[in-house]
């Protein structure tokens, strides 16, 4: 027994001495972006898609380079982001899709006022119904929703899960969805199936193209996948006043196309006092869809790190970001 305990003690002693030794003169931390530092570090959230990383790393390059404030990036889930903004652990997030966060807007921005709206980012996004291009090539009538009224055509999309009906595939349940309502209210012979995650949905696209087996799904642009495969949006009925009213009342009677998403930025309410210069710069910051996808292609296509991609663009386009600092 004593020998065991001694061994234990030895191991602990080894750990302690080594750690003390390691901790002396630790030089690995304490370095940051560069330039003269002013104020505590700013934390920006990156949600798991390329556009979100593009905005955050561009902002990081500008803030560190021109304002001399260190920026930390945190990779985090969208919902957790709001709680981080709420308690100030996160200072800002630069790409919120309004359609998915109406409840958050109400709770934190208009309600608690712990989070503030920093204005539009610039790009407009569009959620909708999409099919791979080969489907439209073979059946041009499927370019609009009316094509799906034909049970024979809808059946092209049938799977073991959907049986006699065509399958409508939805990805991650955290995204906003009216598809079930649209299908029911228009009366289309489709069955709504939740794939459960974006990864599963993307894989379903690959599978569909590999087999030339039609796939109808909820998808959105901008998305990095649309640079690799051709996806065509299916036209849904234009938005009517009734549909807008139904959205506001969430009465389940929605039967139109998805509204356009104007992406916006949000900051923790404390940021204005924590660092007014950063707050001002982030409020002014805007990117066009083209700029965002250009930087995105450095990351997805050329396999650059988001940091390098942002720096490359910032170096080449000073006139764009200098306007944010004016």
């Amino acid at each position: 027994m004593t020998s065991i305990r001694r061994k234990g003690r030895l191991a602990i002693a080894g750990v302690l001495i080594a750690s003390v030794l390691a901790a002396c003169g630790d030089d690995s931390k304490s370095s940051n972006g560069g330039g003269t530092t002013s104020g505590p570090a700013i934390t920006l959230a990156v949600n798991p898609w390329t556009g979100s990383a593009v905005n955050a790393y561009v902002a990081k390059a500008v803030i560190e380079g021109s304002l001399g404030v260190p920026v930390e990036i945190i990779d985090i889930d969208e919902n957790a982001t709001w709680l981080g903004l709420d308690d100030g652990t996160i200072d800002a997030t630069l790409e919120v899709w309004p359609s998915g966060h109406a409840a958050d807007y109400e709770t934190y921005i208009t309600g608690k006022q712990t989070v503030v709206d920093l204005g539009k980012l610039g790009p407009q996004a569009k959620i909708g119904w999409y099919v791979p291009k080969f489907v439209i090539d073979a059946h041009p009538e499927l370019a609009t929703w009316e094509g799906f009224k034909d049970p024979e055509l809808a059946k092209l999309f049938a799977t073991a899960e959907s049986g006699e009906l065509g399958q409508f595939t939805m990805g991650d349940p955290s995204y906003v969805t009216y598809d079930e309502q649209i299908i029911e209210n228009i009366g289309l012979p489709l069955k709504y199936v939740v794939a459960g995650s974006e990864a599963a949905l993307l894989t379903a696209i690959d599978q569909s193209i590999a087999d030339q087996k039609p796939l109808l799904m909820q998808f959105w642009k901008p998305h990095w996948k649309s640079a690799r495969v051709e996806l065509v949006e299916v036209a849904l009925p234009a938005i009517t006043p009734e549909c807008e009213a139904s959205l506001a009342a969430s009465d389940g009677l929605f039967a139109c196309d998805y509204p356009i998403d104007e992406l916006y930025k949000a900051a923790s309410a404390g940021l204005a006092t924590k660092n007014a210069a950063v707050f001002k710069m982030l409020s002014a910051m805007q990117l066009t869809t083209e700029q965002q996808s250009e930087i995105g292609s450095f990351i997805d296509g050329d396999k650059m790190t988001p940091g390098d991609a942002a720096k490359k663009w910032v170096d080449a386009n000073p006139d764009v970001w200098q306007a944010w600092l004016a």
């Binding site: 080894g14 080594a18 030794l21 690995s28 898609w49 985090i76 889930d77 919902n79 409840a103 995650s197």
Partner: protein
Amino acid sequence: MAASVETLPAMESDEAVRARQQQRTVGLAIFAALALGALVAAHDVPDWMDSGIQKWTQDRYQWSVLNRQSSKVFTWVFNPIADVLTWAVENTESILLALRWPGVIALVGVIGWRTGGMRAAIAGAVALFGVGVIANWDLAMRTLAIMIVAVLIALLIGVPLGILTSRSDRIERLVRVLLDTAQVMPIFVYFSPATILFGIKFPPAVVVTVIYALPPAVRLTNLGLRQVPIVVNEVGQSFGATSLQQLLKVQLPMARRTILLGLNQVIMMAFAVVVLASLLGTGDLGQDVLSGLQKQEVGKAFAAGLGIVLMAVALDRISTGEKSTRHSRLATQLPTVSSRTAAMVAVGIPVLAVVVARLAGASLFPTSLQFNIATVIDDAVQWVQENLRKGVPIIGGTQAISDFITLYLLDPLRDFLLWLPWLLVIVLMALAGWLSKGWRLSVTIALCLGLIATMGYDNKTLLWDHAMDTLSQVLVAIVISIAIALPLGMWAGRSDRVERALRPFLDAAQVLPQFVYLIPVVFLFSVGRAAGVVACVIYAVPPCIRLTSLGMREVPFAPREAAISFGATGGQEMRNVQLPLARKAILLGINQTMMMVLATVIIAALIGAGGLGLLAYRATAKPQIDFGLGTAGGLSIVLLAIMLDRLTQAWGTRSDTHRGT
């Protein structure tokens, strides 16, 4: 011959037999009456059964969101805890980074050497070195830091709780129900409350990891202490030891082995959770797994996943804490290393490693030593995806299997369960419980299902209907898992070579984050319930194989030899002697399989399985709207799990009483 083992003539008087038959008739009559009643009653769960649990939970959630800055519960309790956890993880991480990679590897080697001898030292060090080779070392150290803090907290809470439960059966029962519930509850249900209570990043990640790592710590401490022979306790008492002295000097040292096994299990459970925790912003190795998936970079996700596996292997080897018997026997014959030399080695090597590493400026793991397995994996996945889906002789390929599972197994079973009136489902399951064990179990089952009926609606669908959907998937997955695992387990139980060949696959399948094979599974089996079943099977098969093999191996040799000397062939001996004697272990394997399947229901939801798993996921996906719904879905999974667990456990004990001689 073996048949006589099964049906030993009952040693009961005629009267007892008659009384039992009478009881049986009465019981059956009661169930028949109940079944009739169920047929007459409404087919669907009536509205008044809705307990309103969803709204209640959602309201609590909303209250916490609104009051997390002002309420004293937060400012006095949760926020300080969160601060301490952040402090602990950050400091552990900076120590690990400051030690530099040679220092960390040397430390693991030395700890392994002290706890498990040279073999453990080498295995631990090599595995950890492998982490640096295939994954990002700095991210791995952050994962390790979270693990270390979570495991220490799990032990700090778990061991005292284990001691407490070993003293009182009542406390044990209560704690066990709580821990079982906490562990079966899908992880996605915890994320939103954990972030509201503890903020983002490290604190909620540590808390969620502790929830899953705690049960084995409690369970095995309790088991270890209960296994200490009474005689030993009495000797201690007769020497006048106080109960504290006895605990510290007698019981805990004697239970050390089992408690260490608990530590090992704690570490394994914690690693299983760590990937998902990176959703909360920890930015560790799990982040690489998740972002790899998001971009469909299976190889990258796999490499990070393998890094996590290797880290688990390293900690497993150095925490098992027992030198192999061969080693210790050797050690007694060889001249033992003097304790001073041991001390010098134990302290010297890590110190030397750290000094050298820092002088040489080795702050990053050298890129020249890194090996990019991502491309290899990507090629392999590509090949599998292109060649296994279609045109495979006889079975036709994975797509055909997927369609078969959906159309001929899942659909009929689900439709049948939904076709039955809900009360009849309860009566039939309760009857199964009564036949397996008796009234108590019967009531437990009825209670579990009855509570599911009170969970309300998801939009217009009853949660009951989702539960029947999930139940059908779980049953199909269990049957397929057992059909695969039992033959393999039996084979492994009779052949050392097979056992050795299977072991690395079993280890990897159990520790590898399930996320890394989501994409290939979807590509091969298409989005839907069948893909979900396959994911469950992949996860559930290893423990079943392992326990079956173990059960076969633990059968004493004497009866088997006797059978052979009576002229039984190998096959006869296996069927009639070894299998019946291994029955209990095999039934335990089936029970474990089921729990694994239920734990994977939530992962299956990410590839299209729907059902309760998807509801539980929505607690994380849209907490502002669906937290109450998600919690109700998670609770329903827990209730299904408790029901199936008690039922299969009853089969295990019943086989005992039947054989009791």
